[in-house]
C-alpha cells in the first residue's frame, strides 16, 4: 500500500507542477497578487510530495520489495545495505526521480529564501521552475515510472550493475544532479526576466549565489566521477574525453563563464544580456547532457536507458525549453538596458576575456562531442573524436586562459593598469620561474612540457595568494595591521583566491600524471618482483575471497623502497558477481603522500603467472584535491554577506537614516 501511496504522491506532484507553472504566471501578467501568491505553497507542497515518493522508493529498496519492477531489476536481497539505498538512484527511473526531487528542493529553497524578491519576479521564477518540473514529471510517469509493479512478485532481484556497487554511487550522481538542476534556477531567473522584459537591479545578486551553489556541486560531482572512474574501471586514467564526461563538463565550462559574468553584472550592471544568454545556455547544456546520456545515443556505464521513446521524449523537452527560451530571448532582449561602461583593460575586461575563452572552449568540446553523432546520423559511419582532438583544441585554449587568471582579480574596476599589475605579480612570477627551472633540472630533463606545466600551476597558486596579500596590504603596512585587514576582507575575495589556487593544484596534478607517470605492463609469478619508479613491487600470490554478493581472486602484493624495506601491502582483485554473471576488476591502490601506486590485474598466463599493470602516479591526488579546494572557494564565496542583501522590508528603518548619505 505504501508503494502505491508513493506512486499517487508522484502523480499529485505532477498535477501541482502544472498549477505552479500556470497560475502564478497569469497572476504576474495581470498583476494579481493572490494568484502570484499561489506559487510559494504549491512549490513547497510539490517538494513534500516528491520527497515522500522518493522516500517510498528508497524504503522499497531497503526492504527488497520485488513487487516493484524497478527494485527487482536493480536490487538483490544479499546486497549490502548501503548499496540497497544508493541503488535507488543507480538506475534510469530512480535517478530521474532524484532529478525531479532535487528540482523540487531547489524550488522550495527559492521559495524559502525569496522573501526579498520582488513579487512578480518570484512568481515568474517559480512558474518557470514549475514548467521544467511538469515536463520531467510527465516524462517519468509516461516513460520511466519507478513505481511500476509486478504481480506475482519474484523472490530475488537481478542485482545492481556491479560497477555501480561502490560508495561513489552515493556521492557522484547526487552531487552532479545538484549541479545540473541548480543551473535551472539561473535559467528560471533568466526566463523570468525575459517574460517581464526587465531585469531588476538585484537580479544578478539573486542569481549569483544559485549559480555558485550549482557550480560548487557540479565541480564536486565531476571530480568525484573522475576519481570513481579512475579507481573502479581499472584503466588508470582520470579523464577520457568520453561523451558522457563531456556532457557534464560542458555545463561546467559555461557555468564557470556565467559565474564570472554575473560578477560584472552584479557589481557594475554591465553584460546583462550576455549573462542572461549564458544562464540559458548553461541549463540547456545540462539538459543536453541528460538527453545524450538517457537517450541511448551513447553507450557507456551511464546509458541505462536505451528505450528510444525516452530519447524522443527528452528531445522534445529539450527543444521546447531551449527553443522556447532562445526565442523569448530574441524577442525580448532588446528591451533590456545596457549598463555601466568600462575600458578594455579593467576587471570587467578581464572577466569578458575569461568568458570569451570559456565559451570558445565550451563550443570546442561541444563540437567534439556532437560531431561524431552527427556524422553517424547523416552518413552512418562511426567515427571517433578521441583525446587527440581535445588535446589539440582544448589545450591551446585553456593554457592562455590559465596564464592570465592571476591578472584578473588584481585589475581595478572600470579602468586598470596592466603594467602596475604585472609589477605586483613579479614575486609570483619569480616563484613560478624557479619552479619551472627546478622541475627541469631536478625532476625531468627530457620533457619541457612537464617543467612548463609545473611552472604554470605554481604561477596560478602563487598568483592567488599574491592577490590576498596585496588586498591585505602586506609590505605596505605593518604585518599586524595587514593581518587584521586580511581577516577583514570580504569572503568573496577569499573564495576567488581559493578557487583559483584549486585550479592551480588540479593543473599540477594533471601535468604531473600526464608527463611523469611510470607504467609497467608485465606478467608475474608469485615471488617475482618488478621495479616501478623508486619502488619494488613483489607479487605474493593469489587467494580466493568470498564477499557478500560476489566472489573474488585477490592478488597480494608487497611494495618495498629502494633500500629493500617493506612499506606495506596491497591487493588487487578480479571479482565475479554471480547474480549478473558479471566480472569486474578492483584496482589495488596505495597512497604515498599525494601520489599513488595503482595495480590492476589482468588474465592468468599459461605458465602459472598473471598479467599485471602497475602505475606510479605522482601527485595524482591533486587533480581531485584541487577540485575540492575549488568547492571550498565557492562555498566561502557563497557565505559572503553581500549576497544576503536586497530586502527592503528588513532594512527600511535603517535606510531612512542612510538616505541623507546618498550622493546627488
Amino acid at each position: 500500500m505504501i508503494v502505491e501511496l508513493g506512486h499517487f504522491a508522484l502523480v499529485l506532484a505532477f498535477a501541482l507542477a502544472l498549477v505552479q507553472s500556470t497560475v502564478p504566471l497569469i497572476g504576474a501578467r495581470s498583476g494579481n497578487q493572490r494568484m502570484m501568491a499561489v506559487a510559494g505553497p504549491v512549490t513547497i507542497a510539490g517538494f513534500v510530495l516528491t520527497a515522500f515518493a522518493f522516500a517510498v522508493l528508497t524504503v522499497s529498496y531497503i526492504q527488497s520489495d520485488f513487487s516493484v519492477v524497478n527494485v527487482w531489476e536493480n536490487s538483490h536481497s544479499l546486497k549490502p545495505m548501503i548499496y540497497k539505498v544508493t541503488g535507488t538512484w543507480g538506475n534510469h527511473e530512480g535517478s530521474m526521480l532524484l532529478w525531479v526531487l532535487i528540482l523540487a528542493a531547489f524550488g522550495a529553497l527559492v521559495t524559502v529564501f525569496s522573501g526579498n524578491l520582488p513579487a512578480t519576479l518570484r512568481a515568474n521564477v517559480l512558474a518557470v521552475q514549475g514548467m521544467i518540473g511538469a515536463a520531467f514529471f510527465l516524462f517519468i510517469l509516461a516513460t520511466s515510472n519507478p513505481f511500476a509493479r509486478l504481480d506475482p512478485a519474484p523472490f530475488e532481484g537481478r542485482d545492481l550493475n556491479p560497477l555501480l556497487q561502490d560508495i561513489g554511487l552515493a556521492i557522484h550522481p547526487p552531487l552532479l544532479y545538484l549541479g545540473y538542476v541548480g543551473f535551472s534556477i539561473s535559467f528560471s531567473f533568466a526566463v523570468a526576466a525575459l517574460i517581464d522584459g526587465k531585469i531588476d537591479a538585484a537580479w544578478a545578486r539573486w542569481v549569483r549565489p544559485w549559480t555558485l551553489a550549482a557550480w560548487v556541486f557540479l565541480t564536486g560531482g565531476i571530480a568525484m566521477g573522475s576519481y570513481w572512474a579512475y579507481y573502479e574501471l581499472g584503466w588508470g586514467g582520470f579523464w577520457f574525453w568520453d561523451p558522457v564526461e563531456n556532457a557534464s563538463f560542458l555545463p561546467w565550462l559555461s557555468g564557470t563563464a556565467l559565474l564570472h559574468s554575473a560578477i560584472v553584472m552584479e557589481k557594475r550592471s554591465a553584460l546583462k544580456i550576455w549573462t542572461l544568454l549564458l544562464a540559458i545556455l548553461t541549463f540547456s547544456l545540462s539538459l543536453l547532457g541528460t538527453f545524450l546520456v538517457r537517450s541511448g545515443v551513447l553507450t557507456s556505464v551511464h546509458a541505462f536507458a536505451t528505450d528510444p521513446t525516452r530519447g524522443v521524449f527528452i528531445l522534445a523537452i529539450l527543444m521546447v525549453f531551449i527553443g522556447g527560451s532562445l526565442a523569448l530571448f530574441a524577442i525580448r532582449a532588446h528591451l533590456l538596458t545596457a549598463g555601466g561602461l568600462f575600458q578594455p583593460i579593467s576587471r570587467e575586461g578581464a572577466l569578458v576575456l575569461n568568458n570569451l575563452f570559456l565559451t570558445t572552449a565550451t563550443a570546442t568540446v561541444l563540437i567534439g562531442t556532437l560531431y561524431p553523432l552527427l556524422v553517424e546520423a547523416v552518413t552512418g559511419d562511426k567515427i571517433s573524436v578521441g583525446p587527440p582532438f581535445f588535446n589539440m583544441t582544448f589545450g591551446p585554449l585553456v593554457v592562455p586562459l590559465l596564464a592570465v587568471v592571476p591578472f584578473g582579480p588584481l585589475l581595478a574596476w572600470k579602468r586598470g593598469d596592466i603594467a602596475a599589475v604585472s609589477q605586483r605579480l613579479f614575486f609570483a612570477f619569480g616563484i613560478a620561474l624557479l619552479a619551472t627551472l627546478g622541475a627541469f633540472v631536478f625532476i625531468d630533463r627530457v620533457s619541457v612540457f612537464a617543467a612548463l606545466g609545473i611552472g604554470l600551476s605554481v604561477w596560478l597558486v602563487a598568483g592567488a595568494f599574491t592577490d590576498l596579500a596585496l588586498k591585505a596590504g602586506f609590505g605596505k603596512v605593518s604585518p599586524s595591521v595587514a593581518l587584521s585587514r586580511l581577516f577583514g576582507l570580504p569572503r568573496s575575495v577569499f573564495g576567488t583566491a581559493l578557487a583559483h589556487a584549486g585550479l592551480g593544484l588540479t593543473t599540477l596534478g594533471i601535468v604531473s600524471v600526464v608527463t611523469l607517470e611510470t607504467e609497467k605492463f608485465t606478467s608475474m609469478k608469485p615471488g617475482e618482483t618488478v621495479q616501478v619508479a623508486d619502488y619494488t613491487i613483489r607479487f605474493d600470490g593469489i587467494s580466493p575471497f568470498q564477499g557478500p554478493n560476489y566472489t573474488e581472486d585477490r592478488g597480494h602484493f608487497t611494495f618495498l623502497n629502494s633500500a629493500g624495506r617493506e612499506l606495506g601491502e596491497l591487493f588487487s582483485s578480479k571479482r565475479l558477481y554471480p547474480a549478473r554473471q558479471m566480472p569486474t576488476t578492483e584496482a589495488g591502490i596505495r597512497t604515498r603522500g599525494l601520489s599513488q601506486l595503482y595495480i590492476s590485474l589482468g588474465d592468468p598466463t599459461v605458465d602459472g603467472g598473471i598479467v599485471v599493470r602497475i602505475w606510479w602516479k605522482p601527485l595524482v591526488l591533486l587533480i581531485w584535491l584541487g577540485g575540492v579546494l575549488m568547492m571550498i572557494g565557492g562555498t566561502v564565496s557563497l557565505l559572503d554577506r553581500r549576497l544576503r542583501i536586497g530586502a527592503p522590508a528588513a532594512r527600511r528603518s535603517a535606510a531612512v537614516g542612510e538616505a541623507k548619505a546618498l550622493p546627488s
Binding site: 505504501i2 498549477v19 495581470s30 520489495d65 523472490f155
Partner: protein, 380 residues
C-alpha cells in the same frame, strides 16, 4: 480502503496549497522599485569600501557613483504600473479551475497507471509469514535467507540443491551442490546431482565437467544407477554407442530384480540399438562414411558430399514420393550454396507431391522457411 483515505488526505492537502493563498488577502507587498533602491544603495556602500581598498581608482569610483545615481533617478521617474488587483471574477474562475484540476488530474492519471490493490511486499515479511501459506518460491527464499546467514550449513545446501534443479535454476543448483560437497564431503548422490545440474545449465549438453562428476560418483559407488545411466547418455551423445551399451549392460548387472531402473536401462538399450540401426539404414551418410570424411582433405570431402547429394537427387527422380527426402535435398543444396538447384528441387518436389496436397503445401512452407520460392519445374 486505507489507501483511498490516505490518497484523499494527500489530495486535500494539495488542493489547500492552491486554495489558501487564493482566498487570503495579501499583505501589501513592496513595490519592485523599493527592492531596486535598496540594491543601488548597497552598491554605493560597497563602492566606497572598494575605493578604500584600492580596487577601483578615485575618478572611476566617482564615475560609477554617478552611474548608480542616474539609475536611482530613472527609477524615481518611473510610474508604478503595478495594478494591484486581487479579486474579481477572473481570479475566482481561474482559482476554481486550478483547485479542481488537481483531484481530477491526479485521480484520473493514477486510475490509469496505478495498481491501488497491490500491497507492498517487503521480502522479510514474505519470508516470515506462516510456512503453510508459502509457495515453493517462498520456501526457497526462506532457505536462502537461512543460508545467507549460515553459509556453512552443508545440510541446507543439500536440501536446496535438488529443489533448485527442479525449479530450473540450474546455475544455482550447481553452486548449491558444490557447496554441499565442500561442506559435507563427497557422495555419489551429490556428484551425480552436480553433473546433472552442470549438464542442464549448459542446455542439456553433457560437458566434460559433468561427465567427470559422473565418473567421480561411480568411483565412490560403482553400483549407483543414475550416474551409470547418465554416463551412458554422455557416451551416446559423443557418438560412442558401443560404450553406451557397455555402460548400460554394467548397470543392468548391478541392479536387483525389482529395481525400477531396470526398465529404464532396458528402454535406453533399445533406443540405442534403434538409433544405431536407423543410422545404418538411413539415406544419409553412414557412420563409416562420416569417419572417412573426417580423414579426407577438403577437395575429397567436397567430392564425397557432391556425390551423396547427386545420388539422393537421382533417387528422388526415380521415387519422388518421399517428403523427407525432398527436404534433405533442398537443404543440402542450400548448404552447398547451390541456390538455383535448391529452388529447382523445391519446384520439382512440389509438383511431385501435388501442389494442392498437404504434403506439397508443407514442402512449400519448408522452402519458405529457408527463404526459397519454388521455381519452374523442369520439363521432362
Amino acid at each position: 480502503m486505507f489507501f483511498w483515505i490516505a490518497a484523499a488526505v494527500l489530495t486535500l492537502g494539495a488542493c489547500l496549497a492552491v486554495l489558501v493563498p487564493l482566498t487570503r488577502t495579501q499583505a501589501g507587498r513592496d513595490a519592485d522599485r523599493d527592492h531596486d533602491i535598496e540594491v543601488y544603495r548597497d552598491q554605493l556602500a560597497e563602492l566606497d569600501r572598494e575605493a578604500a581598498r584600492g580596487s577601483i581608482g578615485e575618478s572611476e569610483a566617482a564615475e560609477a557613483r554617478a552611474e548608480i545615481g542616474r539609475r536611482i533617478l530613472r527609477l524615481a521617474d518611473q510610474q508604478s504600473d503595478q495594478a494591484s488587483s486581487s479579486g474579481g471574477r477572473f481570479t475566482r474562475f481561474a482559482g476554481t479551475a486550478a483547485v479542481l484540476s488537481i483531484p481530477l488530474l491526479s485521480w484520473g492519471v493514477y486510475a490509469t497507471i496505478g495498481s491501488p490493490d497491490l500491497p507492498a511486499m517487503p521480502l522479510q515479511a514474505r519470508i516470515e509469514q506462516d510456512p503453510e501459506k508459502n509457495t515453493v518460491d517462498e520456501l526457497v527464499a526462506r532457505a536462502e535467507a537461512h543460508l545467507a546467514e549460515n553459509p556453512s550449513d552443508g545440510r541446507g545446501w543439500d536440501v536446496l540443491a535438488p529443489i533448485y534443479y527442479r525449479m530450473g535454476r540450474h546455475q544455482d543448483a550447481v553452486t548449491a551442490y558444490r557447496n554441499a560437497i565442500r561442506l559435507s564431503g563427497v557422495s555419489a548422490a551429490r556428484e551425480t546431482g552436480l553433473g546433472e545440474a552442470l549438464a542442464a545449465s549448459s542446455g542439456g549438453l553433457i560437458t566434460s565437467d559433468a561427465q567427470a562428476a559422473f565418473e567421480r560418483a561411480l568411483a565412490l559407488d560403482p553400483q549407483f544407477p543414475k550416474a551409470r545411466y547418465l554416463l551412458a547418455a554422455a557416451f551416446m551423445q559423443d557418438g560412442k554407442p558401443d560404450q553406451a551399451v557397455a555402460e548400460l549392460q554394467r548397470m543392468m548387472e548391478g541392479l536387483p530384480e525389482e529395481s525400477p531402473w531396470r526398465d529404464v536401462a532396458q528402454q535406453a538399450m533399445r533406443s540405442v540399438n534403434a538409433e544405431v540401426e536407423r543410422e545404418q539404414t538411413a539415406t544419409g551418410p553412414t557412420r563409416e562414411q562420416v569417419q572417412d570424411a573426417a580423414g579426407m582433405d577438403d577437395a575429397d570431402r567436397a567430392a564425397m558430399i557432391e556425390g551423396m547429394v547427386s545420388s539422393l537427387d537421382e533417387k528422388l527422380r526415380a521415387n519422388p514420393d518421399d517428403p523427407a527426402g525432398w527436404q534433405r535435398l533442398i537443404q543440402s543444396y542450400v548448404v552447398l550454396g547451390r541456390e538455383a538447384d535448391a529452388v529447382e528441387a523445391l519446384g520439382r518436389g512440389i509438383v511431385a507431391m501435388g501442389s494442392d496436397s498437404d504434403k506439397g503445401a508443407e514442402l512449400e512452407a519448408f522452402g519458405a522457411s529457408l527463404g526459397l520460392k519454388p521455381g519452374e519445374p523442369e520439363k521432362e
